[in-house]
Symmetry: C2
Subunit: 398 residues, 2 copies
């Protein structure tokens, strides 16, 4: 039996990270590789109580088919919550998605034709590339620095006519993979040029609530509301296993996203939406999220201290994230991350080689000497042990 | 702000049914329109107990990210359960999906290029057309009768070379919208020609467990295992609000479907998968599903009796389903279903005009005089009242 595959299927490839994680999540390995939130932050008791209340008080509705737009009280909560990011949106603009990954899939479906030019940061979130690829875009990487995407290079790459970029995809807060955050100045410049050029922004913000000392500057979407789709998630502030996210779209675009959503899975599970609406209805998020911030800040500081201690004199550089789950390391010139990973795993520690996160692979380029470290899954003790092991692997490789 | 939409977005349209349901689900309307399972069949107590056990015993894993393939015990249960349909598959061939609607989306992504020829029954499931449309196929309707798709017409429409059909989409058991079931003889003929012509089959089976007196004949996939993707669902045997379905694919095709799944929503909610695995682990389905069958059989008989009684002499014909949720009515020549719906709603009863389910719309064709009736959502009393109202609307229209 010969199956004839669609062209787009030929372009889909196994996730590099997925393959790496298979190796690195072996028992006994301390993993800085995965992007898994710390399970000690999951509000299990609140979920138990909410599940019981939803099923006993409203079980038939929670288990029935429901509207593709999502559960009204949850959409209202999202609209209200976004005020703190300077976004003034109606619940009618909120579409509940099956994780924010689905938001990327829906955006790709309605905005990308085969060959369409789309712009991404350097490096960028791998899952977004995976969601966009099946629609066969031409992905263009925009230069970026420690403050995010470079406004001048973005302006230069907007394109014109049929070659005009369908959108730029940006992750302004505590970015995956780098942990970097766009400054106020950079946001203002990017929003300004997007407005001037009619360039749509797809703004992905799964980590924005995980700030350590101060919230990040207002969203890009708040500055370019008619030209932005904003993606949010409950994965990092409650739990990822619920697969609950949302998008916010201008009214002109919402109906097409809704039709794509309906065709994709009819609606996000009603049960999950009602349980989460029940968990969060009385200010739970405002009490719960500060405990996640405190934990992740402590773990980030432990990792930074371990880097300072273990990597002294080895020629590495790294950033100091102001929130989120990840930090980004530049190895000394000539030391490549993929062969280093083999050595590191043998010593019991794992990370993700940074080259996985570049849309455009440059053989022998500087991106081969980068790596992403997650500071949220391992404990402080594991961070200390793992970082010593990583330093040993680096010393051996130099 | 002008958004440039993808070509496929231009082809996407609001669901006709969705628009109809907005009218027909007004308070006070007896609806035979929706495809909603009866909520009295939802196992609320079993769900409460299972949710409590999953969260108390295994909460961290249930709320964490998980494998895109799905939860292993659930995949094993599915493989085991399919033996009763004559399918001998490995759990490695099972992919858990966010409802079986997602299975249609994944199949479309990996098998349909713009312009690809795909074959469907006449009439067919509207949600499948919505899932396929964004990938821009050429949809060809195959003649069908009360036993399902016509084998000779299917053979004639397979096509050759670049125009060869990528697949035929079939719903052999208690089909949506007609309620019809493929006979053993028809299944054998269709499987035979599919094998001879190397024609892939996408077999959708959400209703197969809902038989009244005897289970349907073995699946098409059991006859053509290397050339079939089988879609199943927990929506009709447990509850649709969980959005839990699955697909079974030959090993040659599975990796691409898995990559498409990962890009679409990373994985189906771990919480829902574990709760359902907990509900069903000790033979629950074998005790529970007979109660759904008995209820739906009783409701179907009530609707058939009401049709016999109320429609006598009006020139309508209808089928007698052997299971499922729907039956199919042919109005007398010249009486069209869409204007009839307006009259019916004024009298307090609703249905779905059959023309919504045809891939190829034929102005003035016989399909404009068909309608789908669901017998599972309304009670027996409502069925009696609603059918008298529908008869009155028909009498007024003749």
């Amino acid at each position: 039996m010969n199956w004839t595959l669609a062209q787009r299927a030929e372009k889909m490839n196994p996730s590099v990270i997925r393959e790496i994680l298979k190796v690195t999540e072996l028992p006994g390995i301390i993993s800085f590789a995965g992007g898994l939130p710390s399970p000690q932050t999951f509000p299990i008791d609140a979920m138990r109580e909410a599940s019981e209340r939803v099923l006993s008080q409203d079980g038939k509705a929670a288990l029935q088919y429901a509207a593709s737009e999502g559960y009204a009280p949850l959409r209202e909560w999202v609209a209200q919550d976004l005020l703190k990011q300077g976004m003034n949106v109606s619940p009618d603009q909120v579409l509940i998605t099956t994780g924010s990954q689905q938001g990327l899939d829906l955006v790709a479906k309605i905005l990308i034709d085969a060959g369409s030019r789309i712009l991404v940061e350097t490096p960028t979130y791998l899952g977004a590339l995976q969601a966009f690829t099946p629609m066969e875009p031409t992905v263009v990487s925009v230069d970026s620095d420690e403050h995010g995407v470079d406004a001048a290079d973005l302006r230069a790459k907007v394109g014109t006519g049929a070659d005009k970029a369908r959108f730029v995809y940006l992750l302004p807060n505590f970015q995956n993979p780098t942990g970097r955050t766009m400054t106020e100045e950079r946001r203002a410049a990017v929003a300004q040029l997007a407005i001037e050029n009619g360039l749509p922004i797809i703004e992905d913000n799964p980590y924005g609530d995980l700030w350590f000392d101060a919230p990040p500057a207002p969203s890009l979407s708040s500055r370019h509301p008619e030209g932005s789709v904003y993606l949010g998630s409950f994965s990092k502030i409650l739990a990822p296993g619920l697969r609950l996210g949302y998008l916010v779209a201008p009214k002109a675009l919402y109906p097409k996203l809704l039709q794509a959503k309906q065709a994709a899975d009819l609606h996000t599970p009603s049960f999950n939406q009602r349980v989460v609406a029940e968990v969060i209805k009385d200010g739970f998020i405002d009490r719960h999220v500060p405990t996640i911030r405190a934990l992740y800040k402590q773990q980030c500081e432990a990792m930074l201290a371990a880097l300072d201690r273990e990597m002294a004199g080895l020629g590495l550089t790294w950033n100091r994230p102001a929130g989120g789950m990840f930090l980004w390391v530049q190895l000394p010139a000539g030391l490549k991350a993929i062969p280093l990973l083999d050595k590191a795993v043998k010593k019991g520690v794992a990370f993700v080689p940074g080259s996985a996160f570049y849309a455009t692979h440059e053989e022998g380029g500087a991106n081969e000497s980068t790596l992403r470290l997650s500071f949220v899954t391992a404990t402080v003790d594991q961070i200390n042990t793992g970082m010593a092991a990583l330093a040993a692997a680096i010393r051996e490789s130099l």
